[in-house]
């Protein structure tokens, strides 16, 4: 299941959908807004997407993950707009009969998402100002 949302991500609902009787393992990844990056304080992050294309790319990633690993459920949700401190900008929930698949697919999906999905992050600094994040630098999430 692929979703872009302007609202807080409902992680418990993703877990519930992942907990199918065919599965033995669930891995949920949340990327959340971190307060400090190299000593500078972040007030919040905001995200903008090329929505139609982002959905297509995310669907492609889900399909590739399902070809590569044996997955029961696979959900990717990205929040857009402002994401306050400690709240999730992205959630990936995968379930699989055996745990290696869930861990590997979850890790691959977030790495691939950050490489190819047309979504952009803007840092809003606590001391004022805002910057669009340049990839390959460290930013106020999980990079």
């Amino acid at each position: 299941m692929i979703q872009l949302t302007d609202n807080p991500i409902d992680a418990p609902a993703l877990l519930q959908s992942a907990q199918q009787p065919e599965a033995g393992a669930v891995v949920l990844f949340l990327g959340i807004t971190r307060q400090f990056t190299k000593g500078r304080e972040t007030a919040s992050l905001s995200y903008e997407a090329y929505r139609e294309m982002a959905v297509k790319e995310l669907e492609r990633l889900e399909q590739q993950a399902r070809e590569r690993w044996l997955l029961v459920d696979c959900s990717i949700v990205h929040r857009l707009g402002e994401v306050p401190l400690a709240e999730a900008s992205v959630a990936i929930a995968v379930s699989s009969p055996h745990r290696a698949d869930a861990f590997e697919a979850g890790r691959w999906l977030i790495d691939a998402l950050k490489e190819s999905v047309p979504i952009w992050k803007q840092e809003h600094w606590a001391d004022g100002g805002a910057d669009w994040v340049h990839p390959n630098g460290r930013d106020a999430t999980h990079e």
Binding site: M53, K56, S89, I110, V117, W120
Partner: protein
């Protein structure tokens, strides 16, 4: 032919608008669209170099041929997640 190029994030802010219309010769390539975009919006010069171009919601290369009805977009380096 006239194509509309969607702009996002830093590109949208530099250009001051969410899309730009570009006039291109029939059979133009994505590379020519990229050059035309910088003529139409010089503020995009640096960013257009480091950006990808999507055509009809798929990543394209500079050699890709464009058609009148195509939907193009400039995709600055992505930073979701």
């Amino acid at each position: 032919m006239k194509l509309t190029v969607k702009l996002f994030a830093a590109a949208r802010e530099l250009a001051g608008c969410g899309e730009i219309g570009i006039e291109l010769p029939t059979g133009a390539t994505v590379g020519e669209l990229r050059a035309g975009l910088v003529v139409a919006a010089p503020s995009l010069a640096a960013l257009a170099q480091s950006s990808m171009v999507a055509v009809n919601e798929e990543y394209a290369i500079d050699a890709t041929l464009l058609r009148e009805s195509d939907v193009a977009a400039l995709i600055p380096p992505v930073s979701g997640g």
